[in-house]
């Protein structure tokens, strides 16, 4: 995440710095060897006493630091493994007790004597609402980011950028409340309108009630991820080397052509990272969706009827009255959500690294 070109540049030089250190030492001794008269005797080069080359210190800040980072790294891995084992240990008994197919059953009643629960509809709702949210948010976010970085006067760009960063800090429960109590009204009206005129398209079909629908959830989600994507993309666009922008302009590009030739290709990996970060937030968003979706179990592409549910929203709604099996079932659903997020992340990395040859030389 956050693989802006700038950062990967730093990551790249990290290794080189270490190597340079060694080269320096080698170079120093080579210089010493050239000294006429005493071909092998090192002169005082400011690094140690005369006589011999300074010995490697057996214990120094370097080693201590290395040990510390190693310990920290190991600790993180151990903690992650422990969490994973705990979660799996809790999930497995619940999955065993499930009397229906965990992947396909449409419903969630794990607290009964005959537990029945399925992840399919929840996973579907999660992916659908997140995908829709991105579909709405990404074009808008990129438009705003480009406006702020390349069209707006610099002062205005900075001020608006700051405002958008502030928007990113609004807690999701606020978005949830606003969506449930305020935003739902225009969305309900709009849904009714869509249903009246475009009801023949299945996604806008149905006989109501409308409002607490996938559309409302996705719109609220879109508004929530918009600031992250905008803010990161803007940073990335601002980093485009002036030399490249001028090269494009000097070839006779209009401003938009310059953006297409120089800015967008340069910012691509960063934008993908920004979108993935937004997607990560959308997939894991809990409370805002628990408050705005209709909470039904079923696979449907209908966007405007009351309904829809996601893994995270289901956890938020169902955790309170869950018994042991119920909690295990929710944990199992959490693991599935984790897997989805992981797949999304890996896909993003693959996309970014496939053109690594180009993006690295860019940095």
């Amino acid at each position: 995440m956050g693989d802006t070109p700038q950062r990967s540049a730093h990551a790249g030089t990290g290794g080189i710095t270490v190597a340079t250190g060694h080269e320096w030492a080698a170079g120093a001794s080579a210089r010493v060897a050239e000294t006429p008269g005493n071909p092998r005797t090192p002169v005082d080069n400011g690094m140690g006493g005369g006589g011999a080359l300074p010995r490697a210190r057996s214990f120094g800040a370097e080693r201590a630091f290395r040990g510390l980072t190693l310990a920290a790294g190991t600790a993180v891995l151990v903690i992650i493994a422990a969490i994973a084992i705990f979660l799996i240990a809790r999930a497995v008994p619940a999955l065993r007790a499930n009397t229906e197919n965990f992947w396909t059953y449409e419903g969630w009643s794990p607290n009964e004597a005959q537990p029945k629960f399925g992840i399919g509809t929840l996973a579907f709702g999660t992916v659908l609402s997140s995908a829709l949210a991105l579909l709405i948010a990404v074009p808008v976010a990129l438009g705003i980011a480009l406006y702020l970085s390349h069209y707006a006067p610099r002062r205005l760009g900075t001020a608006l950028g700051f405002l958008i960063d502030l928007l990113a800090a609004v807690p999701s429960v606020v978005f949830g409340l606003w969506g449930r109590d305020v935003f739902i009204n225009p969305v309900r009206d709009f849904s009714a309108w869509l249903n009246e005129y475009f009801g023949w398209i299945p996604i806008f079909g149905g006989d109501g009630p409308f409002g607490r629908s996938i559309m409302l959830g996705s719109l609220v989600l879109a508004i929530m991820v918009l600031p992250i994507i905008t803010s990161l993309s803007r940073e990335v666009f601002l980093q485009t080397p002036t030399a490249n922008e001028e090269a494009a302009l000097a070839l006779g590009a209009t401003r938009w052509e310059m953006i297409r030739t120089a800015v967008l290709p340069y910012g691509r990996p960063g934008v993908i990272a920004a979108v993935m970060l937004g997607l990560g937030r959308a997939l894991g968003e809990t409370i805002a969706l628990a408050m705005t979706l209709g909470i039904t179990f079923g696979v449907s592409f209908n966007l405007i009827q009351n309904g829809g549910n996601t893994i995270a929203a289901n956890i938020a709604n169902a955790f309170g009255e869950a018994n042991d099996t119920g909690r295990g079932a929710l944990i199992a659903s959490g693991l599935v959500l984790f897997t989805i997020t992981l797949i999304v992340n890996i896909t993003a990395r693959v996309i970014i690294y496939r053109r690594r040859e180009f993006t690295e030389s860019a940095a």
Binding site: N244, E246, A247, L251, G252, A262, F358, S361, A362
Partner: protein, 258 residues
């Protein structure tokens, strides 16, 4: 394909700061004109005024009259992108597009002009790369990133990119300053070839280079920091370097040679 540039009383500003004042000179078609002078005297500023790149910077503006074959390039009705297509520019630091392959870099300008046909692009790319003396070095790796070339190769790539769109004037701002002597010679050779087709204006700090490659030389200078740069002398290169008529020019040139 080459055109005459006439500058009359051209002044250029960065916000409130006047960087050059009342520059008047004529660049003949199919010649190489060198701009020389101490650092900060406004050579780059003048060069960038010629293809309207100066105004890209916020707050920057140009006054006076600049024509190319009697057409005012600062006319309100003139399309600035057309001006820049006609007057190509090579920058001091090589600036290939980092995300593009060598091939895509060369044809970037053509693509901007809407050329889509692969065969035309390939033909133009080969022609431009051959003119830039780069073809033999890169013909087997056209798909590789342009930024993976050496500095000198990158600069020739940028030259190829500039001449691929067949501009009528090529402006070069210290094109060799980041290069080794061999690449520098390659680019100087290139200028000799290019002036058969193009009008070339080059900024250089290297007196020998100015003497070697240019037909005419313009000497710019400033009185003191904060003053605008002015054109001190403009004449045939031979005259400027052997028998300049202004004392200041002579001081500058001889000062450089010691």
């Amino acid at each position: 394909m080459a055109k005459r540039i006439e500058a009359t009383n051209v002044s250029a500003y960065y916000g409130g700061f006047k960087a050059i004042e009342n520059i008047t000179l004529t660049v003949e078609p199919k010649t190489v004109t060198a701009l020389i002078g101490p650092s900060g005297c406004g050579k780059s500023t003048f060069l960038r005024s010629i293809n309207r790149m100066h105004e890209v910077l916020p707050g920057a503006r140009v006054e006076g009259n600049l024509t190319i074959d009697n057409q005012d390039i600062y006319d309100r009705d003139v399309d600035v992108t057309a001006v820049r297509r006609m007057i190509g520019m090579v920058f001091q630091r090589p600036n290939p597009f980092p995300t593009m392959s060598i091939f895509e870099n060369v044809v970037a300008g053509l693509r901007l002009n809407g050329v889509k046909k692969k065969s035309i692009l390939e033909e133009a790319a080969e022609r431009a790369l051959r003119s830039a003396n780069l073809w033999d070095e890169v013909k087997d790796r056209l798909g590789k990133p342009g930024a993976g070339l050496s500095g000198g190769q990158q600069q020739r790539l940028c030259i190829a990119r500039t001449i691929a769109v067949e501009p009528q004037v090529v402006l070069m701002d210290e094109p060799c300053s980041a290069l080794d002597p061999i690449s520098t010679l390659a680019i100087e050779d290139l200028m000799f070839q290019l002036k058969d087709q193009f009008t070339i204006v080059i900024v250089t700090h290297n007196m020998q280079q100015a003497a070697r490659v240019s037909d005419r030389t313009a000497f710019f200078s400033i009185e003191k920091t904060g003053d605008p740069g002015r054109l001190i002398e403009y004449d045939n290169t031979q005259k400027i370097f052997s028998n300049p008529s202004v004392k200041k020019t002579e001081d500058y040139i001889t000062g450089r040679f010691g």
